[in-house]
Subunit: 295 residues, 2 copies
């Protein structure tokens, strides 16, 4: 069966890259916004009896959902055999239970919505916290990719004598995975979160690593508070300006400039969310999963 | 069975007014936006075995849909007997068929989404064009309200010797309904639409009405192009500055200031979409339909 890659607006570069690696056709969606804020959408490709992979990373998800559902329903109406969603960044993974009475468990509602429209979901390092697997949330076939090997390769190629610094104790295993190929030392912070933007970080004693370049790691850089605090702690401990490496660079509001102002050296993210810091390409990784799904 | 009115953000004034008129409880949703653009939502009321009416007007709909679905699913999870949607302005009524190959028929997809989540839909003057009734689109019980009598009363009370001016030939019946109670004369324009913002209007000869105050009517004021053109045509014909009356005042971008600059006198809309021009209150009309639905 033939396959087709179809990007939602903003996802064209990744889609082109996926099409090149899979040797599949890439098509385009005609979209525009009417003066009243409604979306116009047109599928400019033959979808009949094809696997159609919609590419739509889901940072800032609220305004993206409806166009995505329009596209999914329309390609299915045009006879797509299977409809897959490639969402390198997957939204609504944080509200995974009811912390206070009356709260919407948005992770479950969002997963139900996508599960009702797609056959497949491909994503990269989703923020699994209280869930062990995506299968606890999504009723469809999900394929979870891991950026750790790519981060490890990038660090090995770009940072001499790194000291890896993880964001919290939960991340220890992940940081160890990134550190292993280069046999780098690593530490993890202790994190106390008081609110969306109110985070306190403390580092173990890193005084013995003043001859190393610290590499601050995190899966998601959103408000940037965790990384900013880690950068400051490292400066206080007398280490050189750290390299900051994130899988998903959301960079809400002024997060990027705050990170620079705090003293970060180079800042690098994967292209799961388009951003000027993108330096680690995940398209090979994603392309392999698409080929496997479609075969 | 008891009933509860629950507004989405921005719909609190209308919800309070509906609660006062129905003598039902009004509750609130706690909502906020996380730094990464995701929505937090909390239902601060007991919904169990109640009719819950979510109030959410649907201008600029894309970013409103997901919070609305979160609220609907959550009140149902908390045991609501019936979940109704009060959307004084209903979105996605314009793309009602496929004009070019590949187009998403968004009116149908949007209606399917809402039909899968709500038991009832109450709306005011939806933009039915090629559909005769909402029942052709929505699988749930729909209740369509009409603003014409309210517009007629407002004009009778506020405009001396009005001449009503309708936007196009399709609106003739509607304009006649608004004109009848005050026995006012009316004309309708001839409309040629070339694009979203490119509209040409021509008026019949109105030279005999120079002693009257023109009242330009339309159901939706979005880009405002139709009204702007009508206002200009009336000035050319030597009539006094017109009063502009719209049911739904979307006022995209600079529409309001363009209308003022074109020479509009007073501009009045219903409170179906919150806007400084709101001067015609639809809450009594909506409240009667809610009482009937819940009985």
């Amino acid at each position: 069966m033939t396959s087709l890659v179809l990007p939602l607006p903003g996802n064209e570069p990744l889609a082109a890259s996926l099409a090149q690696r899979t040797r599949w056709e890439v098509a385009s969606l005609g979209t525009r916004t009417f003066p009243d804020g409604e979306t116009y959408l047109r599928v400019q490709a033959d979808c009949c009896r094809k696997n159609v992979f919609l590419v739509c990373t889901l940072d800032r998800p609220d305004a993206k959902l409806l166009p995505l559902l329009f596209a999914a329903d329309t390609v299915r109406e045009f006879g797509a055999a299977r409809v897959g969603l490639v969402a390198p960044y997957l939204a609504y993974m944080r509200q995974d239970r009811r912390f206070q009475d009356g709260e919407a468990v948005t992770s479950r509602i969002f997963a139900d919505l996508l599960s009702s429209r797609f056959d497949w979901l491909v994503t990269l390092d989703p923020h699994l916290h209280r869930y062990r697997t995506l299968g606890e949330l999504y009723r469809i076939r999900t394929w979870v990719l891991h950026a750790a090997p790519l981060l490890a390769s990038w660090i090995a190629a770009n940072v001499e004598r790194p000291l890896l610094v993880g964001p919290d104790e939960e991340s220890a295993q992940w940081v160890a995975d990134v550190a292993r190929p280069s046999r780098s030392p690593y530490v993890v912070s202790t994190k106390l979160r008081r609110g969306d933007r109110d985070v306190e970080i403390s580092l173990p004693d890193v005084g013995g690593y003043r001859d190393r370049t610290p590499v601050v790691l995190d899966d998601i850089v959103s408000s940037g508070r965790t990384m900013v605090q880690a950068v400051r702690c490292l400066a206080v401990a007398g280490l050189p300006p750290p390299v900051c490496v994130g899988v998903h660079g959301i960079f809400a509001g002024t997060a990027h400039s705050e990170l620079v102002a705090a003293g970060a050296g180079r800042i690098v993210t994967t292209n799961s969310v388009p951003h000027p810091t993108n330096g680690i390409d995940v398209s090979n990784l994603i392309a392999s999963s698409l080929t496997a799904l479609a075969s």
